[in-house]
Symmetry: C2
Subunit: 403 residues, 2 copies
């Protein structure tokens, strides 16, 4: 008998029919002799409806009250799923975040899970009940309701799996698993049977959007085996774990990210401490900088170019203009015409030829590389946005054999 | 500076505009220098929408999960009202039932408040915040969410007022107060400026439907001064309290109740213990019996007639048929053609002429009295339903002078 945590997102419980579908998946797992804890998000459009109600009253509602409002969404979906499971004849109990033992930081709308005390969940499981838990929510030290922000339900599920040493944490989505590239764009994209946490983290950051990054970080930290799979097809998905069976693919995923802005500061004084002033300030404002390129100084100035997420472009420009040495300097921002394309694979660490193969593939397609960034398991290039899909296809073809 | 508890029902917060209206009433009270605790129900149709969602999935949802589902309704409305108050520039904090300290019995969908621990409310008030509390809900000893059932938010408000020794508990409704009769039916109906708890209890039971009975019982027990008033007109309402200024009206309210069924058992054996068997069994099943009439036994049988609420008619008939001595007996139920009309007034205790005046008024209208019941402050008659409005008007005219 295993302990399995299953997580279903908002679209999986969007209406009565889908709630019943989820109930069938859950009860089949239970009927096979497993203990099952289910984490659910708010129903498809509930969150949007609630945000709309809030806006009608106060465009600048406090984050505390937004958390109070939005957390009602999961409360509705756990009750409905529990009713569906009961309808199928299985014992069940729904629990809110605070009832399930979720303690979080105090930061409303983007709280961090500090601790999960699964005592109540254990007690319900010992009564042979299926336990349905509200994802995305917890309480802070003042007993106020908090929410975890984007993708929070994934993190809730992994946190329960970690706290209870679950055998597996299944994240049900609308895709069948993690692919080597977006299967809608690249026709030879292959579903991976296994992938490491680090590979998944690189893929998630780069826009694969299958699993929230915080959940993967937590899974890595507590060594939780995560399976990404579809709630519709019920085919085996992709296992995310520490070590995976060696497969022949050096590159395990090729992704593009168009949510990127390239910022350039032209003619920066060529004196020590400039880079620290720029990137230290951005870090202090919680802006993640990705690729950085610094031109070799000609005369007494140099150019610094870097990328940030498009969402941060405006803030970044403001911060740069406020620096003491930038007055009069030319600062450019392009968040319309660039894309970042990346190849990810744990195996590339020990295979120095990967970068060369990737650059050749781009050269043969006549695609110009603007910037390059590498990590131990990833190579990213910044290119013209119009070339992005062709670049992904070319890199994918160079590394991943057609089946 | 006074502590004032204000309660607003679902129709008062049905949409953004009404929520803002409530916020204005609340903040005006606060701006006059008072501490204010506001209790709200779920928005107008939220509860119905949630019940509909539940029915689509499971017609026989457990009461525990219904409580989990429905309590999300007040969660939404407290957050929205807090946002509205914040919008007007006043400090505010919303609290769920459990956060506000509501401990209840374990009986889901109709729990009783066992204790209110107002520590958190006090703490927020000491920070000069307006406190918005979710009515209708609490938690039981297992930390499960419970709801109080019909009219529960009135009870929540009175319970807070009692626990915190509030100076006044204002219940805002869509009527301007308690009238001597239904003002839509009786043109000379007068709004009472004050009324005793006992009079209010009799009026509430009889269908005046202004205040939930449990809330009046609790107000009486803890001597909470309740004011019933309109959230629209803002005119002074009716104060409900222990003793009231003597007014000249012997009768303070005339009501009709058509939600009544008359049950008759014909030819019951004239032996001891029969009444006990019937009414003991009904009491055990939580069915309140109102007027009881037992015919004088002719020969060796007698007839027993009594009234129950129409909602209980079906259950009552089933229970009667299951009794050991009723097989073969004629049992009739009329829940279509009868109405109960009552005159209530604390003063009638000491004025024996009240019943006579009432009966004369009915006689002069040619209205036949089927059954009579009296208490210290009430006289009720069961009559034909078609005569009910005429009866109320005649009794009202006999006791309450035209203004």
């Amino acid at each position: 008998m295993a302990l399995i945590v299953q997580k279903f997102g908002g679209s999986s419980v969007a209406n009565a029919e889908r709630v019943m579908n989820v109930a069938r998946i859950v009860t089949e797992t239970y009927a096979q002799g497993n203990d099952v804890v289910v984490v659910v998000s708010a129903q498809g459009d509930t969150t949007d409806d609630l945000i709309e109600k809030a806006k009608e009253i106060n465009e600048k509602a406090t984050k505390r009250e937004m958390d109070m409002l939005l957390s009602a969404g999961e409360q509705i979906s756990i009750a409905l799923l529990a009713m569906a499971i009961d309808k199928l004849g299985y014992p069940v109990c729904s629990l809110l975040g605070w009832q399930a033992g979720f303690s979080t930081s105090s930061r409303h709308t983007s709280a961090r899970i500090k601790k999960v005390n699964p005592e109540r969940i254990r007690q319900e499981l010992s009564q042979k009940r299926i336990v349905v838990v509200a994802g995305f929510q917890g309480i802070n030290k003042y007993d106020d309701i908090t929410t975890l922000g984007r993708g929070g339900s994934d993190t809730s599920a992994v946190a329960i799996a970690a706290a209870m040493h679950a055998d597996k944490c299944q994240i049900f989505t609308d895709v069948e698993g993690v692919y080597t590239a977006d299967p809608r764009k690249v026709k030879n994209a292959v579903k991976l049977s296994e992938i490491t946490y680090d590979e998944m983290l690189e893929l998630a950051t780069l826009g694969a959007q299958v699993l929230n990054n915080r959940s993967v970080e937590m899974a890595k930290k507590y060594n939780v085996v995560v399976e990404v799979l579809s709630s519709l097809t019920r085919a085996p998905g992709t296992l995310v774990k520490e070590t995976v069976k060696m497969e022949k693919m050096l590159v395990r995923g090729v992704t593009k990210d168009t949510n990127v802005a390239r910022i350039s500061i032209i003619g920066v004084p060529n004196v020590p401490g400039i880079a620290y002033k720029i990137f230290g300030k951005l870090a202090a404002e919680n802006i993640n900088v990705d690729i950085i390129l610094q031109s070799v100084g000609r005369n007494d100035t140099k150019d610094i170019t870097f990328t940030v997420s498009s969402d941060h472009a405006e803030d970044t420009m403001r911060i740069l203009r406020e620096l003491d040495f930038t007055s009069g300097l030319q600062i450019d921002c392009d968040d319309q015409n660039v894309a970042k394309v990346s190849a990810v694979g744990a195996g590339m660490e020990t295979h120095p030829g990967v970068a060369a193969t990737m650059f050749r593939a781009l050269f043969e397609e006549d695609i110009n590389i603007q910037m390059i960034s590498t990590s131990e398991i990833k190579i990213s290039v910044l290119i013209d946005k119009k070339d992005a899909d062709a670049a992904v296809a070319a890199i994918h073809a160079a590394f991943i054999p057609e089946e």
